[in-house]
């Protein structure tokens, strides 16, 4: 089970730890040992992937929380009116996604992801990279679905903004 999902867990851990391989390995090992010790709690083998990512996400968040005050974390989430206002402010611009070679986008994306706060980074990794649904991620990180939506939106907005400038500077941007 672990072997099957090891690569996906490793790459997610690597990005959660902003590319620091030693930290990612430490997180992965912690995750594996927690999974090992609580294997009896896994009732549905088909849910193993989601279960392992839940352990990974929560282990990571616990580590982050030990370094930050809880109040700081709560203040980063938008309430519903603020979220709706942010959604309404989305300004369509040509997307770098359409105009940059995949490998270049991959490099820029990695850097941009590393610049995101941990809560936003985790959500975009779980939803956009690993393909979990908003509901699954809400269960994994222990927050309401609306919070996942708001974090996902903010993460994508920041990623788009971060990718926009280098793409334009390198003339890879094509105005529509």
């Amino acid at each position: 089970m672990l072997t099957e999902h090891l690569d996906a867990l490793f790459r997610t851990a690597l990005r959660l730890c902003r590319g620091h391989e030693a930290d990612a390995e430490d997180l992965l090992q912690d995750t594996a040992l927690r999974a090992f010790n609580s294997y009896g709690q896994l009732r549905e083998p088909a849910a193993a992937r989601s279960w392992l990512f839940t352990i990974l996400s929560r282990t990571h968040l616990n580590r982050v929380r030990t370094r930050r005050r809880q109040a700081e974390m709560v203040s980063t989430d938008l309430d519903e009116p603020a979220f709706e206002a942010a959604l309404a402010e989305w300004a369509p611009v040509p997307s770098p996604a359409d105009n940059v070679e995949t490998w270049q986008l991959g490099e820029q994306l990695t850097q941009a992801l590393d610049g995101l706060p941990p809560e936003l980074r985790g959500v975009v990794l779980l939803v956009d990279v690993e393909g979990f649904t908003q509901r699954e991620v809400a269960g994994m990180v222990g927050v309401p679905e609306g919070t996942v939506a708001s974090r996902l939106f903010r993460a994508r907005r920041q990623l788009r903004n971060a990718l926009e400038a280098p793409a334009r500077d390198s003339r890879l941007w094509r105005h529509q």
Partner: protein, 260 residues
């Protein structure tokens, strides 16, 4: 009145089928007429798709896997209380079942495969493989030098197989069940590959000469066969079919060496 912000909040992210409340119907109606909302939904889909496509997907390095499985092995041996042991056994059983399923997926059904409960000689081989980098031995990419080094230390001859795309790293000695054996180390596609030769392990590998059996231990695959009273085994974190292919190379070269 339905605003862009409210419509987007109700329609994004798309969480699948949902109850068509009056507000959602109104939001859909709004979005169908609002080019900015349509563009918003399109942008979100496109961003998500491109993030998914472009995000690099590195594999866990072999050393990371090694250390991870060692840590799990340590946890297995450290926890001896009844409940812990039961949990660990369930874990091992689950792991074995998943590996068997994974083996089928990888095409291992081409050859007989079984996962044998540890402790056992094949498990010992894999454990040694994990310890390999620390053991004393000969570091050499010269197959003749390696063969001579082993010949000086073992009561049987070891042919050093040549594998396509593999780099010979050296050899060391192995002690399993109080008998000496040889381990020849290679690197193939950035992964370590070990070739083991030791006196036949009774009852653990095929009784039919040169019949390759594939088993799994701690995330590694081991292809083993018997020939000339010796057990031969290849261990690596490679897919089963690749390991079997390398085993066939090995057998062909051994057969040619005997014929000469």
């Amino acid at each position: 009145m339905m605003t862009c912000g409210r419509a987007r909040r109700l329609l994004w992210p798309d969480g699948g089928p949902r109850e068509a409340t009056a507000e959602i119907v109104a939001a859909r109606e709004h979005a169908s007429r609002c080019p900015l909302c349509q563009r918003f939904l399109q942008d979100m889909r496109r961003l998500s798709d491109r993030i998914h496509e472009a995000m690099p997907r590195p594999e866990a390095p072999v050393e990371v896997r090694d250390r991870l499985f060692k840590a799990i092995a340590r946890a297995r041996t450290d926890g001896t209380a009844g409940d812990t042991i039961r949990r660990h056994r369930r874990w091992v059983a689950g792991l074995a079942a998943a590996l068997l399923a994974g083996g089928t997926w990888l095409g291992l059904s081409l050859v007989p495969e079984r996962v044998i409960p540890s402790p056992d000689p094949l498990g010992a081989i894999v454990e040694d493989h994990l310890r390999s980098q620390r053991n004393a031995g000969l570091a050499s990419s010269d197959s003749l030098e390696v063969a001579r080094w082993l010949a000086d230390r073992l009561p049987f001859a070891v042919e050093i197989p040549i594998f396509p795309d593999a780099q010979l790293k050296g050899a060391r000695l192995l002690l399993v069940n109080r008998q000496s054996g040889a381990v020849v180390d290679y690197v193939i596609a950035g992964r370590s590959l070990s070739y083991y030769v030791l006196p036949a392990i009774e009852g653990e590998v095929s009784t039919a000469a040169r019949e390759i059996r594939v088993a799994s231990r701690a995330g590694y695959r081991i292809a083993a066969w018997e020939d000339g009273g010796l057990t031969h085994a290849l261990v690596a974190g490679l897919p089963g079919p690749k390991l079997v292919e390398l085993a066939h190379y090995c057998i062909t070269q051994m057969t040619a060496a005997v014929a000469v």
